[in-house]
């Protein structure tokens, strides 16, 4: 079920009302959460529910055993079982065809054509997200950082919690699971805040992301036809498309959970205002970055074994992160670009600091931001070319074509030939402008709090305004609404 669908518009109010009717009885409430989560997921394809149920069973069982068992070897075996099942599903459904293709391609390099065809495998929605979430539970118990739950119902509800089931934020058991053990009192302000966040998420997704997608798809699906400014515009638009798509989803998920009394972790923090790639990853998909930090980077040794090992670990984490996003060479290169820049930033961190001190540059100064924010945005956009291109060859074509000087197309109206007519193009620019201004302002002043202090006419005017903007300028309706990009991961 998509958050931006009529089905969800019917599903959510029903679940919401039932939830608060049953809120005082923990068991009934959790049964409702579990049933509605399975319904939410099964609406897409009920057959893949069994994967979530198997993962939940195995990890619940493994968690208990790990806690009781003191024998290190046996504990490792239990953890391996959890890793095997969860990563096994992930590898089979997500990476089988990639490995087959890579295998065949590598033989081609030696002049041998292998006749192995790929398999017709459907990628279950959200498998990368719930697999990581449930894995964190068993790993934390293995590390003795967490006690296993005795409440099977709560655990199953934790794994399948519908607001964040298919695209995160990837929650840690230590944060989310205890929230299933307690009941909540209805809090009007909290619900209102959740609904506002959901509306903002829908604005990002429906008004910005899905509109920009039209131009981005036109250019990226026909890479040989476009040059210079067209590719630059498409890439900048993609940067905002993917941000609005994914952070929009996260906002809806967090808002949705908030209306039910739950607190989900922040997933985005104005990433395009970052002044370094390291900072970018502290602001972009925070739940995934911290997951990789805790469960890949640190186990690999982190920064404990000297700087060269640290660089290697960082680079390796970003390669794996690229692969997590998609089973294709383009994603690996995207991860490698980020990994490489982060290694450079780490390697020259001291030199940069001493240079700043010598030149008396204040990193919080506006001039510093004016230089570094656009620079980092440009690097991020360059990496997005690989992320969005349909193949490695396409990415190369796009990078080659980007060098063509056709700046005159900005004036002669040709940019309106890229799928968004002038009117739509202007709406896109206004929407992006509003978003950037809003985030800039919201970082300094909590807009929600300011709004709450305003008279009712102004507040309701704002609520009505955002609803009408989504209604009139949102991309939705039969055949127009598109899935969230991160569903494919």
């Amino acid at each position: 079920m998509l958050f931006n669908s009529i089905d969800f518009a019917i599903f959510f109010p029903i679940v919401f009302v039932l939830y608060w009717i049953l809120a005082k009885n923990l068991t009934y409430r959790n049964i409702l959460i579990l049933a509605s989560s399975y319904l939410f997921y099964g609406w897409w394809d009920w057959r893949f529910l069994f994967l979530i149920i198997i993962s939940s069973f195995i990890d619940f069982y493994v968690g208990k055993k790990l806690f009781k068992e003191e024998n290190k070897k046996k504990r490792k075996r239990f953890l391996s079982l959890s890793l095997l099942v969860n990563l096994g599903f992930l590898i089979y459904f997500k990476y089988t065809n990639f490995f087959i293709e890579t295998f065949v391609d590598s033989f081609k390099l030696f002049g041998k054509d292998l006749e192995i065809s790929t398999l017709n495998i459907i990628l279950p929605v959200g498998i990368s997200f719930y697999t990581f979430q449930t894995l964190s539970y068993t790993i934390d118990i293995y590390r003795k950082q967490l006690e296993p739950t005795k409440d099977m119902l709560s655990f199953f509800a934790f794994v399948a919690f519908f607001p964040q089931l298919v695209a995160g934020p990837i929650e840690r058991a230590s944060h989310l699971l205890p929230q299933f053990y307690k009941t909540y009192k209805f809090n009007y302000d909290q619900v209102k805040s959740g609904l506002l966040l959901m509306a903002f998420g829908l604005f990002k997704k429906m008004v910005i992301a899905d509109r920009l997608a039209i131009l981005v798809n036109q250019v990226y699906n026909n890479p040989t036809d476009y040059f210079g400014v067209e590719i630059i515009i498409a890439t900048i638009f993609f940067a905002f498309q993917i941000y609005c798509d994914f952070s929009g989803y996260s906002d809806i998920a967090i808002g949705l959970a908030r209306t039910m009394g739950f607190d989900l972790m922040k997933n985005f923090d104005s990433p395009y205002l970052s002044k370094s790639i390291t900072e970018f990853w502290r602001r972009w998909h925070i739940s995934l970055s911290t997951w990789f930090r805790d469960y890949v980077y640190i186990p690999l040794g982190g920064s404990r074994n000297g700087k060269y090992k640290m660089y290697f670990n960082l680079f390796a984490v970003f390669l794996v992160s690229g692969l997590w996003h998609g089973a294709a060479m383009t994603f690996i290169i995207w991860g490698a670009i980020h990994g490489f820049i982060i290694v450079i930033e780490k390697a020259f961190a001291k030199q940069r600091k001493s240079l700043y001190n010598k030149l008396k540059i204040n990193q919080g100064h506006l001039a510093h931001k004016m230089i570094f924010i656009p620079m980092i945005f440009t690097i991020v956009c360059f990496a997005w070319i690989f992320f969005r291109a349909n193949s490695f060859n396409d990415a190369i074509v796009l990078i080659r074509n980007i060098g063509v000087n056709n700046i005159e197309n900005l004036n002669n109206g040709y940019i309106y030939e890229l799928g968004l007519v002038k009117y739509e193009f202007i709406i896109s620019l206004i929407a992006i402008g509003l978003l950037v201004a809003f985030e800039w302002y919201h970082k300094r002043n909590n807009v929600e709090e300011i709004l709450n202090q305003k008279p009712i006419s102004l507040r309701w005017g704002a609520y009505l305004g955002i609803s009408m903007v989504i209604f009139l300028f949102g991309i939705y309706g039969p055949g127009e609404a598109s899935e969230f990009i991160y569903f494919q991961f």
Binding site: I6, W20, F186, Y188, V191, K192, Q218, N221, N222, Y416, E417, L418, G419, V421, K422, Y423, W460, Y463, L464, S467, M468, F471, L472, G474, Y476, G477, P478, E480
Partner: protein, 636 residues
């Protein structure tokens, strides 16, 4: 919780009120701005579903326009009839198809079925009253609400963009020429597997109520209404409710004339299937219909009796007469069309070799409210032989700004291209030879980004034969009425130019460039890019005389502007600048103008003198006729 529910309900009510207010204002705005004007000579209009859509070839029926549209129920027909008869006082007779399947209960699906809401509601939503829309909401709320939001959004964008052009062909109907004949195979299939006859027939009350509303509406507006039944094959399974159908006529429409052409004699090759006649059948039937209208059948009391007698007595002799009439009419129509194209079409003033056998000496674009035309004056013998296994293909590339004016099946493609195989006529006039290509209009776009016309194999496209002709930004002539571009503000540059043109001062001159070309007024104006001179001329435009001529323009700059002369002036000391311009003919406020564009850029707006004269198109051999000199000119 109570507080939330209360506030949520209050918010929903407020949101709903806002939507309803928006809905009303958007629909009113579109409804008031869409132009439903049709040809002012039209007296008869035909409405209905696919049966009349394919049966009445209105190019063969005098003063008649066919607005039938496949799959159209009376519910969706009502707002269309309302606007056409209200905006066109010249319409006197309204013919409405009333046939067996239109009374059937299955018509309910034609009103609120998913497929019909999808295709019809999006078009008609601004014109359907709120009360009428409630029927859709009641009967199919899910699909209605889905398309209500989509249509409101689309219509809101239309209002913002001031786009009030609705494609008639795609949306409001018109004669549809069916080429094929599948009847024999259908009859065979029917024999092997006969369709079961239904015993209990049920009526679609909603549909019939809307027919009654249409009839009342016509009567209130003093239009004569006739129910008609287009020809159907006697084996048509839809005829199995004949008794039930006749009962409804007697019970509910006895005071309306019913003209029954159901038994009009046609051979099986003149049918496409049981319910639809093809272009051959339409030719015979439409000419016959035209003849009985001209005989004054509508003024006769015993209309049906006379029609029945005429149908019964319709024999080979009648057919032959109609055939002759058709040939004569076709010839007349072709000649009329030819003259229209030559007089009003957009002349390309260019030559092109389509192949060694076919050289185009002149080419014209033209469009009327149903078709587009491309006329080629050619040089070449044995052209009939050469073209017998060939046809012309046409690719028209639309600007992406016009994407929403493309038919829906093209809109979803990445390339905004319309493709046609042209129908072709070869005619001669005044010892000159012409090929007229015609192709369905499909969309209302008149300014394409590029058009490509090429020869190809008639049976199957196997690549371009010879050299394709390509033209950037060809202009199809603008027409008024349902297809009006007068109010289209999409082309901002053109609109801006028109505004400048209208506000520019007019100077009376009464000058004869030659015996053939007389002008009464002159207007100088400019935009950021070019300068223009408009000459108001008196009809008729001397097409033949002007064919090999263009206008020359000499501008004499003030001495103070010698330093501002453009780079393309070779002799800097010379303050005389020259331009050549092929005139573009336009009509604004019923006045005819020749627009001369001074394409070579020059920043000087004020001139000591401007001289306009006629000259030979190929090479300057001196002024032809009388030059026009005007002093102290300003293009501002």
């Amino acid at each position: 919780m109570k507080k939330l529910i209360f506030k949520f309900i209050a918010f929903c009510v407020l949101f709903l009120i806002s939507i309803i207010v928006l809905f009303y204002s958007v629909n009113n705005n579109i409804s008031n701005n869409v132009n439903f004007k049709i040809n002012q000579e039209t007296v008869n209009v035909i409405f209905g579903h696919s049966h009349p859509e394919t049966a009445f070839n209105d190019s063969l029926i005098s003063k008649t326009e066919n607005f039938a549209k496949s799959g159209e129920s009376y519910y969706y027909m009502y707002p269309k009839v309302l606007r056409i008869i209200k905006q066109n006082k010249n319409v006197k007779n309204v013919f409405i198809e009333f046939t067996n399947n239109l009374v059937d209960e299955s018509m309910n699906n034609w009103i609120w079925g998913d497929e019909y809401i999808t295709s019809r509601y999006l078009t008609y939503s601004p014109f359907i009253s709120v009360g009428d829309q409630l029927i859709l909401l009641r009967k199919n709320p899910k699909t209605y609400l889905e398309y209500f939001t989509s249509s409101l959004k689309t219509n809101f964008n239309r209002v913002v963009e001031k786009d009030y052009v609705f494609s008639r062909f795609e949306k409001f109907g018109g004669y549809n020429s069916l080429k094929e004949s599948k009847l024999d195979s259908l009859i065979k299939a029917n024999q092997n597997n006969p369709i079961k006859k239904l015993e209990n027939h049920k009526i679609s009350n909603v549909n019939i109520e809307y027919l009654e509303k249409i009839i009342s509406l016509c009567k209130e507006n003093n239009k004569k209404v006739y129910l008609i039944r287009s020809p159907q094959h006697s084996l048509s399974p839809e005829l199995n409710n004949e008794d039930f159908f006749k009962e409804i006529i007697l019970n509910r429409f006895k005071d309306v004339d019913f003209l029954d052409f159901n038994n009009f004699p046609l051979s099986s090759i003149e049918y496409r299937d049981f319910g639809h006649i093809n272009h051959k059948g339409a030719k015979v039937f439409s000419l016959w219909f035209d003849s009985i209208i001209k005989e004054g059948i509508l003024n006769n009391r015993n209309k049906n009796q006379i029609i029945n007698e005429k149908i019964l007595n319709f024999d080979k002799k009648n057919r032959d007469e109609l055939s002759k009439l058709f040939d004569k009419k076709t010839k007349e129509n072709k000649l009329e069309l030819f003259n229209h194209i030559i007089e009003k079409g957009y002349s390309l003033n260019t030559k092109h070799n389509f192949s060694t056998e076919l050289r185009a000496e002149q080419m014209f674009f033209y469009t009327d409210d149903k078709k587009r035309y491309f006329l080629i004056e050619y040089n070449g013998d044995h052209i009939h032989d050469f073209l017998k296994d060939k046809t012309f293909g046409i690719h028209a590339y639309a600007y992406s700004n016009d994407k929403n004016k493309l038919p829906s099946w093209i809109r979803n493609r990445s390339e905004n291209r319309i493709t046609w195989n042209a129908e072709m006529d070869i005619i001669s006039n005044n010892n000159r030879n012409y090929i007229i290509l015609n192709f369905q209009k499909i969309s209302e776009i008149n300014n394409f980004k590029q058009i490509r016309i090429f020869l190809m194999n008639k049976e199957k496209y196997q690549g371009t034969i010879g050299n394709a002709f390509e033209k950037e930004a060809p202009l199809f002539l603008k027409v008024n009425g349902l297809n009006s571009y007068e109010k289209n503000n999409n082309n901002e540059e053109e609109d801006e130019l028109t505004k400048i043109f209208i506000s520019a001062p007019k100077t009376k001159i009464d000058h004869n460039f030659s015996e053939e070309l007389k002008v009464s007024n002159i207007i100088f104006y400019s935009n950021k890019v070019s300068k223009f001179i408009a000459l108001e001329y008196q009809e008729p435009y001397p097409v033949d005389f002007m064919k090999d001529k263009i206008f020359g323009i000499h501008g004499l700059a003030h001495k103070r502007d010698l330093n501002n002369l453009p780079d393309w002036v070779k002799e800097k000391q010379d303050n005389k600048l020259s331009w050549g311009s092929t005139p573009l003919r336009i009509k604004i406020d019923d006045k005819n103008y020749l627009i001369l564009t001074l394409k070579k850029h020059c920043d000087i707006d004020e001139w000591k003198q401007i001289r306009v004269f006629l000259m030979d198109k190929e090479v300057y051999k001196g002024t032809i006729g009388e030059a026009l000199n005007i002093n102290n000119i300003s293009f501002k």
